[in-house]
């Protein structure tokens, strides 16, 4: 009985993440950040670095769960996964050119330096130039389109509900969405 209950709960978390459930994501985000901040601050980074690295790691976690590349068995495996990605990413930054000159290996005392490089985690999911172009383009999209597309693709609201909120019929809402997508794609092309 207890096992069955656990499995049920586990699926709930995964589904909540896949559906971008805000309170679930926020609780994971808030709970895991402090550890990563400590790691980065103790290893020659600033709070800004910590935030950037952590958010990259969080997006990778989210994408990997969405694409079933990572199927967490427990809550703590989500936490561990997130921390490991963040750590890998910060190691990469430290090893990169800009940092190498200023950092002496002995300063990295807080890392357990056992090169577990290949821990099988794919965290490069967002290192795609075209994806970056789209992300940047969305930032620069007009607010009307941003909010329409956000409702569709992030909040995953139904067509009817969105049409109702905009006081439009469903055909014009669909057409509006299509035109917003075209605009988004145009801006993305201009950037690239």
């Amino acid at each position: 009985m207890r096992e069955a209950y656990k499995i049920h709960q586990k699926l709930q978390v995964i589904d909540a993440i896949k559906n971008n459930d805000s309170s679930t994501l926020k609780s994971i985000y808030t709970k895991n950040y402090p550890k990563v901040e400590i790691l980065v601050l103790k290893n020659n980074g600033t709070k800004e670095h910590a935030k950037d690295i952590y958010q990259e790691a969080f997006l990778a976690l989210w994408q990997n769960i969405k694409q079933d590349k990572f199927v967490p068995a427990t809550e703590s495996s989500i936490n561990g996964y997130l921390y490991t990605i963040a750590k890998n990413k910060w190691m990469d930054v430290l090893r990169s050119k800009g940092y190498k000159k200023t950092i002496v290996a002995s300063q990295l005392q807080h890392f357990e330096i056992k090169d577990e490089e290949d821990n099988g985690i794919d965290d490069d999911i967002l290192k795609d130039k075209r994806l970056e172009d789209v992300m940047l383009a969305f930032k620069n999209l007009g607010e009307a389109c941003r909010s329409l597309l956000r409702m569709f693709y992030f909040e995953k609201k139904s067509m009817n509900l969105i049409a109702e909120e905009l006081s439009l019929d469903s055909a014009s809402t669909r057409n509006k969405k299509y035109r917003c997508m075209q605009k988004l794609k145009q801006i993305a092309l201009k950037n690239s």
């Binding site: 609780s27 808030t30 400590i38 958010q55 989210w62 075209r130 994806l131 970056e132 992300m135 597309l149």
Partner: protein, 244 residues
């Protein structure tokens, strides 16, 4: 990527395919096109990239909001650190002497109840914070503060929840524990009493133990003994012996 040659209809069917919203039959037709029509696969790939990019950007903006809403407890921890490091060793030595001095003063003069209290009191370790309990999100958010030792914040958050459920044994128990950790003994006693009087027994046993300690600290030894007799927390027996 070039979407200009994609009609609304085609866009919608590609989208439905990517979202798994096509019927089995339509999927067959679609995948046939993917295989045979030149350039179609890359169109689908482009739309997939756009959809992923869009959703990811919204998520990123959402994360910034989470970040800004985060309690700044980290700030305290991190700004404390350099201060400690920059302390001169002489100052530390002076502080140590002072502590030892005060400590021995307390040891010889302090009353024995206080001593027993500090030997026996450790805050309840708290409950595991599971994300699945999203309906109880506020409760567990405060539990995170509690576990990080921020008893003040945790207590305040729980007190807000307590207004809706004044008799909740869980809330009263942890508020009591948080208050004791902050040395607010009299207030803690009120909350712990509520727990011992509640019908739900989950926290009763522990509550009597903490209540006993709280009375001990407040100098009411008789009440302490009577509360400690009602719990079977192992340490209570030990403590009772010392009180006799």
């Amino acid at each position: 990527m070039n979407l200009n040659d994609i009609s609304q209809e085609e866009f919608e069917s590609i989208e439905a395919y990517l979202n798994g919203q096509l019927s089995d039959e339509d999927v067959m037709v679609f995948e046939n096109r993917l295989k045979n029509e030149e350039g179609f696969a890359s169109k689908v790939e482009d739309i997939k990239t756009i959809l992923t990019g869009l959703e990811t950007q919204v998520m990123k903006e959402q994360l910034d909001e989470f970040h800004d809403e985060m309690p700044n407890s980290q700030e305290d921890i991190t700004t404390n650190e350099p201060k400690v490091k920059s302390l001169h060793w002489k100052r530390i030595a002076v502080a140590a002497v002072l502590i030892i001095g005060l400590g021995s003063f307390w040891l010889f003069n302090g009353n024995s109840n206080d001593r027993l209290y500090s030997n026996y009191f450790t805050p309840d370790p708290g409950l595991p914070t599971t994300m699945s309990s999203t309906d109880n999100y506020e409760f567990y958010e405060a539990m995170v503060d509690y576990k990080q030792g921020d008893y003040n914040t945790a207590g305040q958050k729980w007190k807000v929840l307590l207004e809706a459920k004044p008799k909740s044994d869980t809330l009263n128990y942890f508020i009591g524990s948080a208050l004791m950790a902050n040395d607010k003994i009299n207030e803690a006693i009120n909350h712990l009493k509520t727990v011992t009087e509640s019908n739900d027994g989950a926290f009763k046993n522990e509550a009597y133990y903490y209540l006993g300690l709280a009375y001990l600290k407040s100098g009411n030894t008789d009440a302490a003994i009577s509360a400690l007799k009602k719990t079977n927390v192992p340490k209570s027996k030990d403590l009772l012996k010392k009180l006799d």
